[in-house]
Amino acid sequence: MSTEVTPASEVRDVIIVGSGPAGYTAAIYTARADLKPLMIAGSVTAGGELMNTTDVENFPGFPDGIMGPDLMENLGQQAEKFGTEVMYDDVTSVELEGAIKTVTLADGQEFKARTVIISTGSAYRELGVDGEKRLVGHGVSSCATCDGFFFKGQDIAVIGGGDSAMEEAIFLTKFAATVTVVHRRDSLRASKIMAERALKHPKIKFIWNSEVVSVEGEAKVTGARLNNLVTGEQSDLAVTGLFVAIGNDPRVDLVKGVLELTEAGTIAVESRSSKTSIKGVFAAGDVVDPTYRQAITAAGSGCVAALDVEHYLAEQDS
């Protein structure tokens, strides 16, 4: 395979920003279309959200499941095999108007291309309550696979009711004495298989219809103050760890005020395509998807973006 690097000054066909399932799938397709994609993968965010997960059981083609980081490694290899150039750097700004787009990295390097695919994914959502920020790293965590180890034999809580929250809760039972799931509603949003696994687990307890009002503790977490949304009663939950899994927000900082966004805060795209409000700029993955947000839907949407890019370039050249 070709390993020649396109000089920075040259105008490329396509630059892909972000390296989750959407970005890598877009890279595989555009590379196979001989568009020599440049992917800016992120210095510490490379591989995206799946890098912090364990078993992925619902990605088609892996009957025994696959570890999230292994899946991303595979996607990366597949993209590079067909000639994708990957840079583990961060994009700090983009100029998207006009026929030639410019992407600027944190170290000041500039790259130009006729099209850009934005696949920056989403970022972990904070509770936004007192004590949370102050106690990050001292009991408040957003990464169960990183931090579960520190809570051996302790009582901890997971906040949230979706698949990610259930996965974290189940994973954390390997270490913790008890895991209490605190959820705003009276039933779980998680898929049935994940919900049942959690509901049946002897170490997992549930507190329903409740939200966290504040995280308590001086130097480290000692508990959480909860508010029952039905009765209005407040109570204190004594835990030493709080894992927050209440969802994600699209990462649109780069394009805010430049690309049209939806009410949900995602990048607006035309109908079922990946076309954004600016010609030659396409978007894919969680950053356009307020609804489904699965690895496989992100991958599918990366494929759509790649095909839209091909079509757009062909039209420009005709």
């Binding site: 210095s43 510490v44 965010t45 490379a46 591989g47 890098m51 912090n52 980081p69 961060d90 944190a106 170290d107 990050v136 790293g137 001292h138 009991g139 408040v140 965590s141 990464c143 696979t145 990183c146 931090d147 180890f149 520190f150 809570f151 130097a219 480290k220 760890g241």
Partner: protein, 108 residues
């Protein structure tokens, strides 16, 4: 390339607390995905700023005492020590530029 050293529960005092230069300590573990991303970034800093700081890595799995002493419950955790005292902390993997800004006092 890296100039980073390792410290253990037994050597932490000598390698970090008694260091003449400020020390950037990376608390990490093998199982932690973001830690693996951060490693090479701190390696770069250890080379580029070798005249200004030491970079020292502590495997929390093998060295529970020192991790507990500093109340580490999230990794990667990067602590800047100066004269034996914690001067600044960064929790979570961050880009190189973030550390250059956060630790500007000692990196200049």
């Amino acid at each position: 390339m890296s100039n980073a050293k390792s410290a253990t529960d037994a050597t932490f005092a000598d390698v970090v607390l008694k260091s003449e230069k400020p020390v950037i300590v990376d608390f990490w573990a093998e199982w932690c995905g973001p830690c693996r991303k951060l490693g090479p970034i701190l390696d770069e800093i250890s080379v580029e700023y070798s005249d200004k700081v030491e970079v020292v890595k502590v495997d929390v799995d093998a060295n529970p005492a020192i991790s507990a002493k500093y109340g580490i419950t999230s990794i990667p955790a990067v602590y800047l020590f100066n004269g034996g005292e914690v001067q600044s902390t960064v929790i979570g993997a961050r880009p190189k530029q973030y550390f250059e800004k956060e630790f500007a006092d000692v990196l200049k």
